[in-house]
């Protein structure tokens, strides 16, 4: 039951993007009786459509519109046109995601205060803290039905996890388990339990993993208050003479342009498209783009310090069997500058299928050093490093006016260079990860470079002072009251944890704020 709203209906909230941020915001608003039109650039795919095949699934779901890259990160060399691995579909990247759902540690909301002055980093404290976020995290964990919360059991340990756990134990680590996952460990919420198929990154065909595509979106649609317009690609946000935004111009599946009028616009296109949209909406009143009086739109792009370690053993592991992210080790997530860097990192098991392993193990490599590692694919175990990277003003999304997309709009250029802190942390994590596998008899370990970004954060950051960022504590533009940012781009800093639980918690909180402000007549 979808609610068709008129293009001229200027009482609706327009949400751009239907992933972790936008999908949740749209549903939460709809549940509160607020009318919402969600514009989604991609099409709609449900569990029956997902494909247990890495490249075929990539072709079905990934965002493949052009982007460009610069900076000294290796992704710019190996995957110059593909800085991020994210999704263009109803549900956004929650179709691809692995489901690791972690709260920030308390001190991570106060990175500037905790870490002190780090040269070259544009660290800032969030304008909100752990205490304020705790009730919203509670709601987010309920919604995502996270394991090891709300009485849910943990998932059982897979082969890949068992190797990882044995290594962690051997090194004396204490904090490791099969993770807090937005994956059903029992049958509930009308969804099956995890069948350990091992294609979490390709969309869960069992619906065991939470994705807004088949939870929040249909729940919102069922209220009659939410219309999701798929294959509707937002091109620019427009405003009236009063400076407030009044609608969104989008292209439909046939490339025809329409303008959906709006009372409020919430941008949730992930951290490249959201700032790009604000920049592409420049006008004579806002010559530098919307909400950009601070000059901060697009800046402080963060992607988590990542990397992987694969261990080769003399006997089979078959890491691809079971959940893709099957466990976590958290002892290094603390802030302990004696290790030579500020902030911390998580180690999480990971597996790739053979086709992706060939593409990502050591991009560009060839010859027997490479193929003799792949030959041992069956005997490999794998883990992923997720650490806090330093925000830097110069790591940023800008418009590349030399390259345009299918609608003639300038594409996003993504510039990223590692901070010295990032390099020190990655080296530490490689060493610890390799030591874990060595401790259980690895015959060879492979410190693997970062993949195209899956966690994209910070390009419209939240700040107390309008001078320092783009949005306030509610994700509301410092410059334009009825413009909101609702995705990972509002992150002030990245913390060591996978971001989605926090994106979802912020979206639930933002929906509450918007509906209260609407009732109070403030918006």
């Amino acid at each position: 039951m979808t609610a068709p709203f008129e293009l001229s209906d200027d009482s609706v909230v327009v949400v751009i993007g239907t992933g972790a941020g936008g999908g949740v915001l749209a549903n939460e608003l709809a549940q509160k009786g607020v009318k919402v039109v969600a514009l989604e650039a991609g099409g709609r795919y449900l569990p029956e459509d997902y494909i247990n095949d890495e490249w075929e699934s990539f072709g079905q779901l990934a965002w493949l519109d052009p982007r460009t890259t610069s900076g000294d990160w290796r992704v710019a060399k190996d995957f110059s046109g593909l800085p991020a691995w994210i999704v263009k579909a109803v549900g956004g990247t929650t179709t691809h995601w692995a489901g690791a759902s972690l709260r920030f540690q308390d001190h991570e909301w106060k990175a500037a205060t905790t870490y002190g002055n780090v040269q070259g980093a544009s660290l800032l404290d969030w304008p909100i803290d752990a205490e304020e976020m705790a009730p919203w995290y509670d709601l987010a964990e309920k919604k995502l039905n996270v394991t090891r919360t709300n009485g849910n059991p943990g998932l059982p340990g897979s082969n890949n996890y068992k190797v990882f756990a044995a290594g962690a134990k051997a090194l004396g680590y204490e904090n490791f388990h099969t993770g807090r996952m937005a994956i059903n460990s029992t049958e509930n919420h009308d969804r099956l339990m995890c069948q350990q198929t091992g294609f979490c990154f390709q969309g869960c065909k069992w619906g065991a993993k939470w994705s807004s595509a088949y939870t929040d979106i249909p729940e919102g649609e069922a209220t009659g208050n939410l219309e999701v317009r798929e294959k509707a690609h937002a091109l620019r946000i427009e405003h009236g003479p009063d400076g407030k935004v009044n609608g969104v111009v989008y292209a439909d599946a046939d490339g025809n342009e329409h303008k959906q009028m709006a009372r409020i616009v919430a941008v949730a296109g992930n951290s490249f498209e959201s700032p790009r949209l604000l920049l592409n909406s420049a006008s004579s009143m806002y010559p530098d783009g919307l909400s950009n009086s601070s000059g901060q739109v697009g800046r402080n792009y963060m992607r988590h310090l990542t990397g992987s370690v694969y261990g080769v053993f003399d006997k089979p592991v078959k890491m691809w069997r079971g959940t893709t992210m099957a466990g976590i080790m958290q002892d290094e997530a603390k802030h302990d500058p004696s290790r030579g860097f500020v902030g911390g990192y998580e180690l999480e098991t990971l597996s790739l299928g053979l086709p992706f392993m060939a593409a990502f193990l050591d991009p560009g490599a060839w010859g027997r050093e490479f193929t003799s590692a792949l030959d041992q694919y069956e005997n490999m175990a794998g883990m992923w490093i997720v650490g806090e990277d330093m925000p830097q003003e110069t790591n940023r999304v800008t418009l590349n006016h030399d390259v345009t997309d299918q609608f003639g709009m300038p594409v996003a250029n993504v510039h990223y260079s590692d901070h010295a802190n990032d390099r020190a942390m990655r080296e530490h994590a490689y060493k610890q990860g390799q030591a874990m596998y060595d401790a259980v008899g690895a015959t060879r370990t492979l410190p693997t470079p970062p993949y195209p970004s899956t966690h994209n954060l910070g390009t419209n950051r939240m700040s107390e002072n309008p001078r320092d960022g783009v949005v306030n504590r509610w994700g509301q533009s410092h410059d334009i009251d009825n413009l909101f940012v609702s995705d990972g781009s509002q992150f002030t800093t990245g913390a060591a944890e996978n971001p989605t639980l926090t994106i979802v918690a912020l979206a639930i909180r933002q929906a509450d704020h918007i509906s209260r402000e609407l009732s109070a007549g403030n918006l």
């Binding site: 053979l354 010859g367 694919y377």
Partner: protein, 175 residues
């Protein structure tokens, strides 16, 4: 399965065909084209010179050498270059390889008997567009062939079999 050892004379088209046949594909051999009855790569070789194609197959194996993968999978991986659009650039690249081989005292790339010596030559041209194009194409052209997955132990799709919940997701016994 046959092994990939290019003899001192390299691979002639006839040898290539013989090896591929031994590897399980059945061939129809005619003048100027190579085709398999296997639907996966039943492509008429109508554009490329057979010797060039043999060189390309050897090049593919030298870039990503897997001794347990038979030639037919390398053939499939590079068959896309045997088109009117691709053939000129590809033949030019292969001529560059042969010229480099002649510069090192061999008759052609295929005349270089040891992988070590071929790899040494390839290191000197690895930044060329030709090499990078062939290498990049192989990443999916070779490793995304379902036929090679079992050689690596990879089991592929699992949904239709109910996942691994009751099929050994946690069956590791050696820890």
């Amino acid at each position: 399965m046959t092994k990939t050892i290019a003899g001192p004379r390299g691979l002639t088209r006839r040898q290539l065909l013989a090896r591929a046949t031994a590897a399980g594909a059945s061939f129809v051999v005619g003048a100027g084209y190579v085709a398999a009855t296997d639907a996966a790569w039943a492509t008429e070789m109508n554009a490329m010179k057979p010797d060039s194609f043999a060189t390309l197959v050897q090049l593919a194996r030298d870039i990503y050498p897997h001794d347990r993968i038979p030639d037919e999978n390398y053939v499939v991986a590079v068959k896309g270059y045997d088109t009117p659009q691709e053939v000129d650039a590809t033949e030019a690249g292969i001529e560059m390889l042969n010229a480099a081989a002649r510069g090192r005292g061999y008759g052609s790339y295929l005349d270089i008997g040891w992988e070590r010596d071929r790899v040494d030559l390839l290191r000197s041209i690895e930044d060329s567009d030709f090499f990078q194009k062939i290498r990049g194409g192989l990443v999916t052209g070779l490793y995304n062939q379902k036929a090679v997955w079992p050689i690596f132990g990879y089991e592929g799709e699992s949904f239709s079999q109910g996942g691994y919940l009751y099929r050994g997701f946690d069956d590791i016994a050696w820890l």
